[in-house]
């Protein structure tokens, strides 16, 4: 167990170092910060002095080490686009993204799980076929198209819901929330549904195939032979055993939701981190990009680490497997 944790931690740290190196290379090789800081008539000697004062003539690894130290303190420099500290910009937008992602995850689970159980229990019924066909369409439709479709139906044609923005938000300490106002909740519905659709189909298909597989096993037959009612067999025995992969995939999908929120936020002009990063790429705003890169990589590494460790804790078979990779199954 300890060896596994250490190996897994080492891998995570290695990934973060590589990502940090990429982010740092962006800083180091894109443009010359000195020429953007000084005027035309600054002498070469002054430039050299400034370069030395800022530590830009230090060896590569010294600069990289300083970058890592700053990054660990949450200091990523000043945004070219907004002329404000990057960490401030991202911190302001973090609540919007997290609330959207959270709402999407809840919707995906609450709808996807029952649909998956139903299609798994009654694979031949017409409702299941409709669900499956819809899910295939859901997987094939790009996120931005479903978003536009929803905007067109509910904002343009019906005029029920707003098509952009977050509505009114309430300030709670350093956190802004849209959960507490009516306009905030209304503004949340369309983007959260858009973001949830893909995960919903994924969860549904996963639960369905796991249910189908579990229902064929001997212990289910035995449970039936013992005369247990269907409800007990389905939910007590079968569903419980499908939940391990479902938890894993859902956990891993949290990262995916954050990634797809880039698209959803752009479609709905949701004032979150994803919208910010798309603007930053268009603007070549390197500090924002570097900070986002590190932040998202950190999210993913932590999520993957937790899921792997949980998996290890939940599934006793893995403890016998000393090869250490907790992927696939």
């Amino acid at each position: 167990m300890i060896a596994f944790v250490i190996r897994r931690l080492g891998q995570s740290i290695a990934v973060m170092l590589v990502v940090g190196l990429i982010a740092f290379s962006l800083f180091a090789y894109v443009g010359d910060p000195i020429s953007s800081m000084v005027g035309q008539d600054t002498t070469m000697a002054d430039r050299a002095k400034l370069r030395h004062d800022l530590g830009l003539d230090d060896p590569f690894f010294v600069q990289f080490g300083r970058f890592l130290l700053n990054a660990a303190h949450g200091n990523f420099g000043i945004s070219y686009q907004y002329a404000r500290p990057v960490q401030q910009l991202l911190a302001e937008r973090l609540p919007a993204t997290l609330e959207l992602s959270f709402a999407a995850a809840v919707i995906a689970l609450l709808v996807g799980l029952p649909m998956g159980v139903y299609t798994g229990l009654r694979p031949e019924s017409w409702l299941s076929r409709i669900f499956m066909t819809l899910s295939l369409i859901g997987v094939s439709l790009p996120t931005f198209l479903t978003g536009i479709l929803l905007i067109w139906i509910f904002a343009v044609v019906l005029g029920w819901l707003p098509s952009f923005g977050r509505g009114d938000v309430v300030q709670l300490g350093g956190w802004t929330t849209g959960f507490l106002t009516l306009s905030g909740l209304k503004a949340l519905i369309l983007p959260a549904t858009t973001l949830a659709l893909f995960q919903m189909t994924l969860i549904m298909r996963l639960v369905r195939s796991e249910m189908l597989e579990v229902l064929r096993t001997d212990y289910i037959k035995f449970a039936r032979a013992r005369g247990l009612p269907n409800r007990m067999v389905y939910f007590g025995h079968a569903l419980k055993n499908t939940l391990v992969p479902v938890i894993t995939i859902t956990g891993l999908q949290i990262g995916s939701i954050i990634a797809f929120s880039i698209i959803t936020e752009t479609v709905f002009q949701w004032p979150g981190m994803g919208f910010l990063i798309v603007q930053a790429i268009g603007f070549a705003d390197v500090p924002v990009m570097a900070c986002y890169l590190v932040l998202v990589a950190f999210f993913f590494v932590v999520i993957n680490l937790i899921v792997d460790l949980l998996y290890y804790a939940v599934d006793p078979r893995l403890r016998l497997d000393r090869t250490g990779t907790a992927h696939g199954h």
Partner: protein, 320 residues
Amino acid sequence: MVTESADLPIEPAPPRAAGVLRRALDSDLLYSFRRSPLTVAAALVVLILGGSALLCAWIAPHDPFDLASLSILDSFDPPAWVDGGSWTYPLGTDDQGRDVLSAVLYGMRVSMLVGFSAVGLALVAGVSLGLLAGFVGGWVDTLVMRVCDILLSFPAILIAILIDGVARSVLPHDQQDQIAFSVVVLAVTVLPAVQFARTVRGSTLVERNKEYVQAARVIGVHPVAIAFRHILPNVTGPVLVIATISLAIAIINEATLSFLGLGLPLTQPSLGTLIRVGQNYLFSGEWWMILFPSLALAGLALAVNLLGDWLRDALNPKLR
């Protein structure tokens, strides 16, 4: 599954002329293809959309890139069957007076070109890496697979956006339109390449210890020849399935990048770029500018996905 190939009886394959293609498309496969109307329909859609995209220079009513033929007076014309539309522009015109039908056809060509280039590149890179990792083993295998694991833990679209963003900030600003195509292809290539590598590596590990490989080794066939001539043909099934599904994903990811304004520029619009432009006019009622490129994209992605689904079931020995 949506396709109906799962419960097919096995038909003995009639003897056919030799040839790799013939053997790959053995009659079992064709039989299950004919038996599934949905798959036939999907194949038809792909053929029609792909064919018209390929031939767009000849069948498109206008050349959307010929600035001389554009007239601002013709802008925002609705489709022909709506009041105020004319058959000169069957699907209406956009804000520049461009014919929407022609723009969609040319855009589809760009989208498919990106998709095929990306999958092709991924195929070459991924299959070689997978064969290498599986055949050589040792630290090469560990290294390749670790990198693949890490890349796979990020969603494809995130990797594409980040590659695109990094490339954009590293490359000079004034050349961005010219290199946009290569950047986009590269951005959407990475993840399918990883998938090819993993699959091929897994199959290679199985095949490598079989007798025919050992026999080839004994008679002194060069390892590279063993990998490509003996092992590769035996791992084509899963590769074909992944290639089809990757094509749909690559097209969608390219469209997403272009929609976000990070993909192909207006001078070289793909379906995603057209949808991005059309979205600005969603509220002012010019729905045709966004509807037709969206339909083309959705139809293409769905049809290719259906083909991939069918192929996966048809090639899966467990379902035979």
